[in-house]
């Protein structure tokens, strides 16, 4: 079922006081100006998910907002996935043809798109190539959602030739910034508090969903929601849970799945299931990407939430859990450290033992859980809701059009 798209007014009850009025005032700076977002796909992936919410809010704020994608009859080249992987540090050496395919594809798509706007924002790798077809008017922004903190140099050198033709770059974390002759801005991603994944649920709804998923409520739940790959460290979470269980009655719920085209992930998934087969308190749930209400219910039912990644993009699962007033134990990776304020909203840890120690402490101390959980929700309210991201996008437009 398609979710209803909320209006700006709907966020009044969840955003910080005065935010809706402030956003309306801020939008006056860019009212009637045209912004064009270009993503690789309108249907698939995190960028499409963000734009589905953000573009209607920009329009409601008075901006002439449009969204185009590179979807078309011709499939996105395989080169795109390899280029993505290389920019995120994959060491596979890319052949020259990969870059040629990238250039040819974006050149062909550019002719099919109307690229005239006051501000054009191209998201991630493929649309970046459109900058070669930029008209003389308008400011162009490269919005990078990828972790390019340690890119394969060859891939970055090729992409950099395009990026320097933009007027500004925007990243999700400071560590992603590169040496560039253009201004580089920081805009954190956000969660939508009114989406199925984050909206309030009644106790009856939570109970019904957990019953359907076969997760009992008789013991405190430790939870991690993350796909099964080694960077999310599900086996480390299981080891931590076993250390916790020596002292506390509890259960562990691991929600995730392996990408079918990732043999290492499939193998890891099998290891996780093997571990679970000997322990009735260890639940492994492979849910579809559309099971948003299920994830919501599990996060709300959890006592402590893990995000014990060793490598992470931004890790918005942390903000989702904190929004539900849950203390989070996170690995020291990517955007987790930007979200978890140590001993205020949760803990960042560097080891299995550290994760277990903090989980034991939290299970033993309801007042501590309550303090961290309340602070976490407030931290998300101020910093990681879509209303903040909308304001940043408006401020970026206003700054570039000054």
């Amino acid at each position: 079922m398609t979710e209803a798209v909320p209006t700006l007014e709907d966020y009044r009850s969840v955003a910080p006081a005065g935010t809706v009025e402030l956003l309306r005032r801020l939008s006056e700076r860019v009212r009637g100006r045209r912004v064009l977002h270009v993503s690789t796909s309108r249907e698939v992936g995190g960028v499409a998910e963000i734009l589905r919410r953000l573009v209607p809010l920009l329009e409601e704020a008075g901006v002439d907002a449009a969204w185009e994608s590179l979807d078309g009859e011709e499939a996105v080249p395989q080169a795109a996935a390899r280029l993505h992987a290389a920019l995120q540090g994959d060491e596979e050496r890319l052949p020259v043809e990969t870059f040629d395919q990238f250039r040819a594809f974006t050149r062909a798509r550019a002719t099919a798109l109307e690229l005239t706007a006051d501000v054009v924002v191209t998201h991630d790798v493929l649309p970046a190539g459109l900058v070669d077809a930029r008209p003389p008017e308008g400011a162009w922004v490269w919005r990078c959602h990828l972790d390019v903190s340690r890119p394969q140099r060859r891939a970055w050198t090729v992409l950099r030739q395009f990026v320097v033709k933009f007027d500004a770059a925007v990243y999700s974390l400071p560590s992603f910034a590169q040496r560039l002759p253009i201004p580089q801005f920081l805009i954190y991603p956000s969660i939508d508090p009114l989406s199925d994944k984050n909206r309030e649920l009644s106790a009856a709804e939570i109970d019904a969903i957990l019953e359907r998923l076969g997760v009992p409520r008789d013991k405190p739940i430790l939870l991690q929601v993350a796909r099964f790959d080694r960077f999310k460290d599900p086996l480390g979470v299981i080891d931590a849970y076993r250390l916790v269980k020596r002292q506390h009655e509890c259960q562990l719920v691991l929600v995730g799945a392996a990408e079918s085209d990732d043999p290492a992930g499939v193998e890891l998934s099998a290891d996780v299931r093997e571990a679970a087969s000997h322990d009735p308190d260890l639940h492994v749930l492979e849910l579809s990407p559309h099971a948003r209400a299920e994830v919501n219910a599990l996060q709300r039912a959890a006592t402590v939430v893990f995000q014990k990644s060793t490598r992470e993009g931004f890790g918005l699962g942390v903000a989702e859990a904190m929004w539900k007033s849950k203390p989070v134990i996170g690995g020291f990776a990517g955007g987790i450290a930007a979200q978890v304020i140590y001993d205020v909203t949760g803990y960042t840890v560097n080891s299995v033992e550290g994760a277990a120690f903090r989980a034991r402490q939290l299970l033993a101390d309801p007042a501590l859980r309550e303090r961290l959980g309340a602070a976490g929700r407030e931290h998300v309210r101020q910093n990681f809701l879509i209303t903040r991201q909308l304001g940043d996008e408006l401020a970026l437009m206003a700054t570039l059009l000054r």
Partner: protein
């Protein structure tokens, strides 16, 4: 007395901060010091004065980015404590503040045999940033203390930041705009003094907003 009407109304403004990355990073305290000597003053401002804007609802463990990084990422609690005591409001300008931070780190390093640095994989480097703050008129103007109190209770915390921190930090005013207005326009000197003692580096902006409203309520009740 508190029903006095100001000749000049108070116009509430707020702000939105867009963060800009300078592409500079420090992995150890010596590198931090070297970058500190070179970065634009706006970056010094970002990591000290406007730190509270990013901790609106919650006061951080330390009151500026330099102290937070030293204590949490480098795990040098001694330097974290030394930097944590710095109150930007004690300095006449940003160059003086920069000089204090630099000399404090330099003195600290002089007492050590090696330069503390983040452990690879267990700490984040320090990323130098600056901000572009857009000042936004809220359209709200008030002439009495009661109107002032009611408006402040509903406006966003960026309003508190702009009139309390930016007024002194960037605009060079001797005191915050709220204290100046209630003193000069409403003649409430005692209330102005109490407002002037609120410190955004010891409390969150949300706490300060509540405190300002409470102070106004007390003044209204005593009128």
């Amino acid at each position: 007395m508190t029903e006095r009407t100001a000749r000049t109304p108070f116009h509430f403004h707020s702000c939105w901060e867009l963060r800009e990355m300078l592409g500079r990073r420090a992995f150890d305290e010596r590198e931090l010091l070297e970058h500190l000597e070179e970065v634009p003053l706006d970056s010094i401002y970002f990591h000290t004065y406007s730190f509270c804007l990013r901790q609106r609802g919650l006061p951080g463990v330390y009151p500026n980015d330099f102290a937070t990084w030293a204590a949490i990422q480098v795990r040098d609690r001694v330097l974290g404590e030394k930097l944590g005591i710095i109150d930007p409001q004690d300095f006449p300008d940003l160059e003086s503040l920069r000089a204090e931070v630099v000399s404090l780190i330099d003195d600290h390093l002089a007492q050590l045999r090696s330069v503390p640095r983040i452990m690879f994989g267990f700490g984040e480097p320090f990323y130098f940033m600056q901000s572009r703050a857009l000042e936004i008129p809220t359209g709200v103007k008030v002439r009495t203390l009661r109107e002032f109190r009611n408006a402040l209770a509903t406006l966003d915390t960026g309003t508190v930041y702009l009139h309390l921190v930016e007024a002194r930090g960037r605009k060079g005013r001797r005191r915050g705009d709220f204290a100046a207005w209630v003193d000069e326009q409403l003649g409430l000197r005692d209330l102005a003094a109490r407002m002037g003692r609120l410190n955004p580096y010891q409390q969150s902006l949300e706490d300060i907003r509540h405190r300002l409203v409470a102070l106004a309520d007390e003044a209204l009740a005593g009128a």
